[in-house]
């Protein structure tokens, strides 16, 4: 119980006062929490970025509720999240476990695997656009060679969406691989030794030891994926500009378009606030699932 911990802890010397947290909290409050409050306020105004916001009542919200583009964007964002999770999880899990082996070759290869994460989303998007160009990229000869004719992945309604999913996976799988690698290295070797004595095969050990032991890692990684998929914005902006048409217009991109292309910052704030609420809900679920929030530690308290 944390209450007993607190009771025991209070009189001990060397405990920092809450003032230690003040600079960090104040800083976060001013540049991250205050904006979240302001975005709620702005969603009830009309504002073009010039002059002062004018109060608009529920105009933006009624418009948002009836906006077909928004409905579509929410659907696309959800699909993007689910698809990213379903693709990234198994790949990073397998690669992470594989790279957890201490062999030198694996270490070198995993160092290479991490490289995409060092590139900015902008860079990744530019490189992939060049590779997928239907007229001047490798697909220009591969398509006819395979009897497919012209292959225009970024120009197709569904294919452009899946390209975003793929490119985001390409960029972020290394991060999750690293998480699983760390998790796998924490599994006590004794578990495997015992299993080996029982005659378990590699698959059996993976299934009965590795997977259950990585449960917590999986929760963390999944949540980071869900949170991360809210931020594929850079990729969409550069690769497709939300297109073709509006087929890859996910919620953050719709917000950007409404805000900084159409200059309806009040309406964009309504979209943005929806994002904030969704993200907070995700955070709540995350705290529940992972126990991040509990002050339980391996050493202190129980």
């Amino acid at each position: 119980m944390s209450a007993t911990v607190r009771d025991r802890a209070a009189p001990r010397t060397g405990r920092p006062g809450p003032l230690w947290a003040l600079p960090g909290v104040a800083f976060f409050a001013l540049f991250a929490a205050l904006p979240m409050v302001l975005v709620a306020y702005l969603s009830f105004t009309h504002w073009g970025g010039l002059g002062d916001p004018r109060f608009a009542g529920f105009d933006n919200w009624t418009r948002l509720a009836g906006d077909r583009l928004m409905h579509r964007a929410v659907g696309l964002s959800l699909l993007l999240t689910v698809a990213s999770w379903a693709i990234q999880t198994p790949i990073s899990l397998l690669l992470g476990v594989w790279s957890a082996g201490r062999q030198r070759g694996r270490a070198v290869v995993s160092a290479l695997f991490f490289l995409p994460l060092l590139l900015s989303s902008a860079a990744v998007a530019i490189v992939w656009r060049a590779l997928l160009d239907p007229n001047f990229g490798p697909l220009a000869w591969a398509g006819p060679f395979l009897g497919l004719g012209t292959v225009d992945l970024l120009g197709g309604s569904t294919s452009a969406f899946w390209v975003i999913v793929f490119v985001a996976s390409w960029q972020f799988i290394p991060l999750h691989m690293l998480l699983y690698q760390g998790g796998a290295r924490q599994i006590p070797e004794t578990l495997y030794q015992a299993a080996r004595i029982d005659g378990a095969g590699r698959l059996g050990m993976f299934w009965h030891i590795t997977l259950p032991q990585l449960r917590n890692t999986m929760t963390t990684s999944s949540i980071l994926m869900v949170v991360g998929s809210l931020t594929y914005f850079d990729t969409v902006l550069i690769m497709t500009g939300g297109g073709p048409g509006t087929d890859t217009t996910i919620v953050p991109y719709l917000m950007y378009r409404a805000g900084f292309r159409s200059w309806e910052l009040g309406y964009a704030s309504a979209i943005a606030f929806t994002l904030v609420v969704a993200a907070t809900l995700i955070a709540l679920v995350m705290v529940r699932l992972t126990g991040f929030g509990s002050m339980r530690s391996t050493r202190e308290g129980i």
Partner: protein
């Protein structure tokens, strides 16, 4: 992955890791076990998926602008040149790198200091206030920075900071805080109570406990935080885009736009800038890779 390497005694270099159960142990393949063919094959496929685009990226940097589109992104340049690198430097890329480095250093310093003190208070203080602070950071964990770009713009303008590097530093650092606090809380809560008691017996107050116990013991967590916030700052896109405009405040991601004429883009020039801009991060990564993995483990483990 050769047999020789597998049999060679494997050891973690250094021995700087924090004492944590299980991590000191080295997993080694049991004698006589078959090599993991499937795993190796999967890793090989992924290696191709990662390496081919990176190859395309590198090859483009020695390609001439006018040959890039006709020759395609995979063919070795018929007439290689280092001109793109010269052009990149000529166009002031080093200035952008310098600006980005300034911003990155400022963000890293701010985040490391604020996250460390805040986490110390959260882990050790155990008051209702610090618990509340921790909850606040946890809820901020999932908020994408795009969602609040509009009010951040408003705040920065009102503070008179528009078009300064500070304008980028402040919100970038604020949005890196939640993850960093979580990472540090993870690694600080593992410091054993006995060590604190020993410090207290020596008459150490919270400052000395922080500087001589907490900081050294959280080294890997602190490196993770530094690398994470450096990545955020180095690859930031939306804050520089919206919060600055003049050429002497341009960061590397925005500098990519420097390579762009009114109606066309010099793709090899752009990609060269990308490659050059990644070099500093790559060096940091090589240095901090191990502690990064360990720090992330603190998040995912348990």
């Amino acid at each position: 992955m050769s047999v020789v390497q597998e049999r060679a005694p494997v050891n973690t270099p250094g021995g700087t890791r924090s004492p944590r159960p299980g991590t000191g142990r080295i997993r080694r393949r049991g004698v006589g076990e078959r090599p993991n063919v499937l795993g190796g094959l999967g890793a090989l496929i992924w290696l191709l998926v990662v390496a081919v685009p990176l190859y395309a990226l590198l090859i483009a940097t020695v390609q001439r602008g006018e040959n890039y589109v006709p020759e395609g992104p995979l063919a070795p340049p018929s007439d290689p040149t280092l001109g793109n690198y010269a052009t990149a430097v000529e166009k002031g890329l080093l200035g952008f790198v310098w600006n980005t480095a300034l911003v990155t250093v400022a963000v890293v310093v701010l985040v490391v200091v604020l996250a460390a003190t805040t986490s110390f208070a959260i882990v050790r203080s155990r008051r209702r206030l610090t618990d509340a602070a921790f909850r606040m950071f946890l809820l901020g964990l999932a908020i994408p920075s795009q969602a609040v770009i509009i009010p951040v713009y408003l705040i920065i303008v009102r503070l008179g900071l528009y078009d300064s590097l500070t304008a980028i530093v402040l919100p970038t650092a604020a949005f890196a805080l939640p993850v960093c606090v979580l990472i540090l809380v993870g690694s600080m809560r593992d410091i054993s109570e006995e060590l604190y008691e020993a410090m207290a017996l020596d008459g150490a107050g919270s400052v000395r406990a922080f500087l001589w116990l907490v900081v050294p013991m959280s080294r890997s967590g602190l490196s993770t935080v530094a690398v994470y916030s450096a990545l955020q700052a180095w690859n930031g896109f939306l804050f520089p885009l919206i919060l600055t405009q003049s050429a002497d405040k341009r960061l590397i991601t925005m500098g990519l736009f420097e390579f762009q004429g009114e109606y066309r883009v010099d793709v090899p020039g752009l990609l060269t800038a990308v490659v050059l801009s990644t070099v500093p991060l790559f060096v940091i990564y090589l240095v901090a890779r191990r502690s990064l993995a360990d720090g992330l483990m603190g998040v995912g483990g348990k």
